[in-house]
Amino acid sequence: MANLDIEQVIEDYFPRIHRAALVMCGNPWDADDLAQETFLVLAQQRGRFRGQSQLFTYLYGILLNLDRRERRRHGTRRRALRLLQDETPRDGAVQPAADMAVEVSEWKESLWSRVAQLPNAQRETLVLRFSEQLRYEEIAAVLQCPLGTVKSRIFNGLQSLRHILQSESQDLHTAPAHPCEDLTRAI
């Protein structure tokens, strides 16, 4: 199916892909980039889509691949930054920009920020299920795994989410307050 009308595909699927990217990235800027890159990859590789699956399944596959790649890069960068941080004094730490504060606090309060801490397989399954409202069969097609695996990942993902929330609430009651942290915003 080489004669894919990219403009029409963007018109039809961009909001869905952007929503998935938003809950996976946690900030609108990265989500914009990720969603746009998904469609650019589709435009570059339009000849590879043979129409054997639904188009949005194919698009979610591209999105998840790009997200995994970004996470790998981000992990590498973060490890490098941590090494640098260990070597430099913390007095000159860079503070985030003022206009990012609202978005950051909103994201930190969101349940999706806890989903972002889960392993990739569980996180992707929860995104496809609860953000994108896909059926189990569709999730299995996107992730290319059996139906039972999808169900178990959702179950385990929700369980892990509960554990994270429970541990956070315990930490909030037991840990001493940090002078720089606004505890009224933390969960």
Binding site: F14, H18, A31, D32, Y136
Partner: protein, 163 residues
């Protein structure tokens, strides 16, 4: 007895889609996730940026090509640029390292400082050695050597020796 093949209500459909062992707390979390995803999508609408430029209504043929480099095209351009750079570098190297085609000739002394016999003997420019001028050579000879040299030249070209 109700058939499992035809669920009639939404709750039955949801129950069929729900994995076994999910309790009320997990369902609450799932609903919260759905609601927050909707909220985030509403608060942060998509920004198409580059896609509008490349594929939107105002896209030009040039902007449509953006980001569409094929591997073959990229390899072709890289090899072409490398070839041009290599050719320029090689040419420059050859030009700079080439020996001077007109090396400095030993300066011939003015004719009024040279004995007339030797001056008359001076060969045309095309026949002169590029390293040592015969005039310089002759002027440094002692008398017996000069005699021997003149004998030798007389044997080689007797008609050109005037004395």
């Amino acid at each position: 007895m109700r058939s499992r093949q035809a669920p009639s209500t939404r709750s039955e459909v949801e129950a069929r889609n729900t994995p076994h062992g999910v309790d009320g707390e997990s369902l609450r979390l799932a609903n919260q996730l759905r609601a927050e995803a909707r909220h985030l999508a509403m608060v942060y609408p998509p920004n198409r940026g580059v896609l509008e430029e490349c594929h939107g209504p105002g896209a030009t043929p040039r902007s449509r090509r953006r980001g569409r480099w094929s591997r073959a095209g990229r390899a072709w351009w890289i090899s072409a640029c490398a070839g041009v750079l290599l050719a320029v570098g090689l040419g420059t190297h050859l030009v700079l390292s080439r020996p001077d085609p007109s090396p400095k000739r030993a300066r011939t002394p003015p004719l009024n400082q040279v004995p007339s016999a030797v001056a008359n003997h001076a060969e045309p420019a095309s026949e002169q050695s590029t390293v040592i001028s015969p005039v310089m050579f002759v002027s440094e000879l002692s008398d017996p050597e000069l005699e021997a040299w003149l004998d030798l030249q007389r044997d080689k070209a007797p008609e050109r020796i005037a004395f």
